[in-house]
């Protein structure tokens, strides 16, 4: 199974195994990573699961869709590497992925 590392704002690192076909958001919730809120449960409608994709992984993960880009308007401290983690599907190519979580998701 692919491994994903979540680095929280305070530097805490969680490296966890992810199921293929699940999302980076679901994997975080299953592992109790509370800096990902996911208020809407993965509907791309709340922008409370934002992560900063590590620059080395940005090209592999790819850019947000137009719908996701609109949702990012409701997130805070958005950067060029910002993605909503509910919209990143786990594939074999993402083994070793590193994402950082913001200090605040809007709630």
């Amino acid at each position: 199974m692919p491994k994903i590392s979540y680095i929280e704002h305070d530097g805490t690192v969680h490296t966890v195994e992810a199921d293929l076909g699940s999302t980076v958001m679901e994997t975080a919730l299953r592992n109790g990573i509370s800096s990902i809120v996911a208020e809407c449960g993965g509907g791309c409608t709340c922008a409370t699961c934002m992560v900063y994709v590590d620059e080395a992984w940005s090209a592999t993960v790819g850019p947000p869709s137009a719908e996701e880009e609109e949702q990012l308007d409701s997130a805070f401290e958005v950067k060029p590497t910002s993605r909503l983690s509910c919209q990143i599907k786990v594939t074999g190519a993402l083994d070793g992925l590193i994402v950082r979580t913001p200090a605040y998701q809007g709630r």
Partner: protein, 342 residues
């Protein structure tokens, strides 16, 4: 303050479970008023998922959040409930045995025999931007809603956002403001195309300013803003002198006043009795995502079940003199009369 509204039951929250509660109560001759902080019915289904599919409503393989809301509104139409939208319940008082007085932030007062809290994840409230030191300005020069437009007359305004709320308030306030600056993180707006064009024309005509970036710093004293700094994608800073700021970042769910209603909460949830969905206070019920009990699942279908059982117990308070006979809508002419089909 307006006159007290007397009714059988007040339902707090007009999401799917609050709406279905109208149906279950209506079959038992119990009238209901619904109060919701959103300006529309449907709760999360309408606010978060209007176009998203729901696959786990029994016997309905696929329905959108708005579709489910519309269907529930059609189903409860015979019971003619009254809606109070855009209002938040602030106080629930026990004034009898049980009689409740319910007060909203608009000063509306209700008197009823039972209260049903169907508030889901709490109340939808504006997201607060995490700008360092914003708190002292909130309510004085940083506002998340416009109550009186005149408060912004001849002021230098900063509006943040790229959706219809930000654009609509830009158009309403630009004519009366001393100067209006709209800030959005990217030069692409999700508001209605006609609104975006209108805004761009105002900018081109020099009637307002548009800055692309995110507000990173505030200046001022005693709650009064004097300036804001905007950081663009390349970290270049622009300082704008402002008297007031209106951020529009959408809504988030907060527990809100529920926390002050005297319940023993389990986290942000209200524990209930699983045979009646009554809280620790007689005549006060909690159904749907806001409640908790052993085995609780936050599913719409669970909320529907809870509404049915709640209504049986609420009948005891609203019509204590009447014996409750269990009936089916399929075969009972009395229920069919209430539904207007017999």
């Amino acid at each position: 303050m307006s006159e007290t509204i007397k009714t059988d039951v007040v339902i707090i929250g007009a999401g799917p479970v609050g709406l279905f509660a109208v149906f279950e109560l209506g079959l038992l001759d119990i009238k209901a008023h619904l109060i919701d902080i959103l300006d529309k019915v449907g709760g999360q289904c309408a606010e978060l998922y209007p176009e998203k599919p729901i696959y786990d409503i029994p016997a309905i393989p696929l329905v959108t959040g708005q579709g489910l809301t519309d269907a529930l509104m059609a189903q409860i139409k015979p019971f003619n409930p009254t809606f109070h939208l855009g209002e938040m319940v602030t106080i629930i008082e026990n004034i009898g045995d049980p009689v409740f007085r319910v007060t909203t932030d608009h000063g509306k007062v209700f008197e009823c025999k039972a209260v049903v809290i169907a508030a889901g994840g709490g109340s939808f409230q504006p997201k607060r931007p995490p700008i360092a030191g914003i708190e002292p300005y909130e309510g004085i020069s940083v506002h998340y809603a416009v109550r009186k437009m005149d408060a912004f007359r001849d002021k230098r305004l900063l509006i943040i956002g790229g959706g219809d709320s930000a654009l609509d308030w830009t158009f309403n306030l630009q004519p009366i403001a001393k100067r209006l600056t709209l800030v959005h993180r990217r030069d692409d707006f999700r508001g209605a195309p006609a609104s975006v064009n209108k805004m761009r024309k105002l900018v081109a005509a020099g009637a307002m300013d548009l800055k692309i970036g995110q507000v990173s710093q505030l200046e001022g004293a005693d709650g009064q803003l004097t300036a804001a700094t905007i950081k663009d994608a390349k970290d270049a800073l622009t300082r704008v002198e402002v008297d007031a700021m209106l951020p529009f970042f959408g809504l988030t769910m907060k527990l809100g006043p529920v926390a002050n209603w005297g319940f023993k909460l389990d986290g942000e949830l209200i524990p209930v009795d699983v045979s009646t969905f009554e809280t620790s206070r007689q005549g006060l019920f909690a159904i749907g995502d806001i409640n908790t009990y052993p085995g609780k699942l936050k599913l719409i279908l669970s909320g529907f079940h809870e509404a049915a059982l709640m209504a049986q117990r609420a009948h005891h308070y609203v019509h204590p003199e009447k014996r409750l006979v269990f009936q089916y809508t399929t075969s009972s002419t009395s229920l069919q009369k209430k539904l207007g089909v017999a």
